[in-house]
């Protein structure tokens, strides 16, 4: 991949993401130092000591947002990792093996696509009791079908390509072909999909925690919003408790969307044709 410059979208996306990463790193440095009630009364507006004011417990909102970045980002990444993993394996198997396995897996994928994911997630999270890993699990289990479809299409394409035929010709097993050849070849698409679904996962997590379905002891940005809504910040006009996390959520997901779209474009064109014609 000699000399393919990152596109505008990728650069902007990376910029936003690195901003969040800086927040995560800073949260470890400063987070624990100032994470205790500092102001006398709840909801004190932004001041010199609390740049973004304080929340209902007098906690510094900026610190909360820094700490929240850890949770939001890690749920986003792990959740989409799980969903991408499931989607990739199902897609690769279904696309490569074909036949009745493809039918069954395809039917399953269709089923999950048809299911309205968000309401089901809400119900499922409520049922499993909200915790970090349950939210990850729910996002992972319900957000894979698009990835599976994409990978399936690529695997289907590869299945009929010459090199796979060649592998059958030297007695390679199907599992071997899927894991050693098909998967590495869909990696580019999967990577793009993975980055895109991080932003989905972050938004989903924010949505779930906004309606109170998250681990309150480990507050993410969505949880901050949730408490701002249920503890009267809106009526008090304490905008500093709900505007900053909102901005953080949208900026982060925008960052991942941009990067993902950039990657998707890159792999859709494919490195081959970029270099091919001279």
């Amino acid at each position: 991949m000699v000399g393919i410059k990152p596109s505008f979208m990728e650069t902007t996306g990376l910029l936003l993401i690195s901003l969040v990463l800086v927040m995560v790193i800073l949260s470890f440095v400063v987070g624990n130092v100032i994470f205790y009630p500092r102001s006398e009364s709840p909801y004190s507006p932004p001041s010199q000591s609390n740049l973004l004011g304080t929340d209902d417990l007098g906690d510094d909102v900026l610190t909360l947002i820094f700490r929240g970045s850890r949770v939001s980002l890690s749920i986003g990444i792990i959740g989409s990792l799980v969903s991408t993993l499931i989607g990739t394996v199902i897609g690769a198997l279904s696309g490569f093996c074909g036949g009745s396995l493809d039918d069954i897996l395809g039917w399953l994928t269709d089923l999950f696509i048809v299911i309205p994911a968000l309401p089901l997630m809400i119900v499922l999270t409520a049922y499993l009791s909200p915790s970090f890993w349950n939210v990850v699990l729910v996002i992972g289990l319900l957000w894979w079908p698009t990835t599976a479809r994409l990978v399936r299409a690529r695997a289907w394409q590869l299945r009929s390509s010459t090199f796979v035929e060649g592998l059958i010709g030297i007695d390679a097993s199907k599992i071997y072909i899927v894991f050693r050849h098909i998967l590495p070849n869909v990696l580019g698409v999967v990577l793009a999909r993975f980055v895109l679904s991080i932003s989905h996962a972050i938004l989903l997590e924010a949505g779930l925690s906004f309606i109170g379905l998250s681990d309150p002891t480990n507050p993410s940005w969505g949880t901050i919003l949730h408490f701002a809504m249920t503890r009267g910040a809106l009526l008090q006009g304490a905008w500093w408790t709900f505007v900053p996390p909102g901005i953080a959520i949208s900026m982060t997901s925008l960052g991942f969307i941009l990067l993902g779209m950039g990657l998707e474009q890159r792999y859709r064109i494919g490195p081959k044709s970029l270099e091919g014609k001279i």
Binding site: S161, T162, F163, E165, G166, L167, I168, G169, I170, D171, A172, Y176, H181, P184, N185, L187, P271, K272, E275
Partner: protein, 316 residues
């Protein structure tokens, strides 16, 4: 020039039934398409190759020669008929026999671009058959790769690249090396040069033939180039519309073609325009000499003289 001399000698002791390594008996293959329309790719094809023989299958694209090649190396199962490897039916091989078959019969695909996994280094792709068949240690593996690379003429440093960083000709040589690395008995090369430049074609064909003469293996060469066929093969099968319409020694066929299709090939008559039609004889629409029976029944295979078979009503 050595080659052309080499072809003239017909090794009769080889032509015994027992020396047949790979054969196809009454093989047919058809596909059922979307609207339950039956598309016939191969119809009642008989084919056999002896040990160390050089065979050529001539045919246009769509004549079914690629399908036949894939059936011969077990990549596609025929709808009817049998492929036999050393006398045993392919469908009845057990696991270890199958493994041996996969080792002994190798396939060189048409287009080298996608013949190797684009994400793998060439060395790994090349060593992969050895690893899958688990026939040698890591050290032996390197030696073996090195040896086969020398034989096909690729530098070891080239193997540190990925397919997209290598030219088509070099890639095709890696593909050939990969086919030879398991020391097979039969190589089936499906138009190995049709996608390459003529100057590279010469190199590739030379490489294959050199390897063949060194290890005395059988080669099935698929091509549509008669000039090439003349140089590389002893025996020739001409395919048209999923059937073998003429077979025999290359020299004989090129000298005295019997089937009207072979004639038109040799004379360079361009195809006529007709709508695609399913006639019993694949050449019906273009044949100069047609009789009534041609459009009613498929022509039978008839042996004209020693090993020369034609499928045409004129010789029936």
């Amino acid at each position: 020039m050595r080659l052309i001399q080499d072809l003239s000698g017909i090794r009769t002791p080889n032509n015994l039934e027992s020396n047949v390594i790979l054969s196809a008996e009454h093989v047919s293959k058809w596909y059922i398409s979307f609207k339950r329309r039956k598309t016939v790719a191969l119809e009642n094809v008989n084919f056999s190759i002896f040990k160390g023989e050089k065979v050529c299958i001539i045919g246009e694209s769509g004549s079914g020669k690629s399908t036949l090649a894939k059936i011969l190396c077990g990549l596609i199962t025929p709808n009817s008929g049998e492929v036999r490897f050393e006398g045993k039916k392919l469908s009845e091989l057990n696991k270890s026999e199958k493994k041996v078959f996969r080792m002994r019969v190798q396939y060189i695909p048409q287009c080298p671009d996608l013949a190797l996994d684009p994400t793998w280094y060439l060395y790994d792709s090349l060593a992969e058959p050895l690893r899958i068949q688990k026939i040698c240690s890591k050290q032996d593996e390197f030696e073996r790769v090195k040896e086969v690379c020398e034989r096909v003429g690729i530098g070891m440093d080239q193997l540190r690249r990925k397919p997209r960083n290598v030219s088509g000709g070099e890639l095709q040589r890696v593909v050939i090396a990969r086919a030879f690395i398991l020391s097979p008995e039969i190589i089936i090369a499906d138009e190995p040069t049709s996608m390459l430049d003529p100057s590279i074609q010469a190199k590739i064909v030379r490489t294959i033939l050199d390897l063949q003469s060194e290890s005395n293996i059988g080669i099935v060469f698929l091509t549509h180039d008669l000039e090439l066929a003349k140089l590389v093969s002893e025996k020739m099968f001409v395919m048209l519309g999923g059937r073998i319409v003429e077979s025999g020694y290359t020299r004989d066929i090129l000298k005295t073609p019997l089937h009207p299709y072979t004639k038109s090939l040799l004379m360079g008559v361009p195809p006529k325009t007709e709508f695609k039609q399913n006639s019993p004889c694949g050449f019906y629409g273009e044949c100069e000499i047609v009789s009534e029976v041609c459009c009613q029944y498929p022509p039978p295979e008839s042996e004209v003289y020693g090993g020369r078979k034609v499928r045409c009503w004129r010789y029936a």
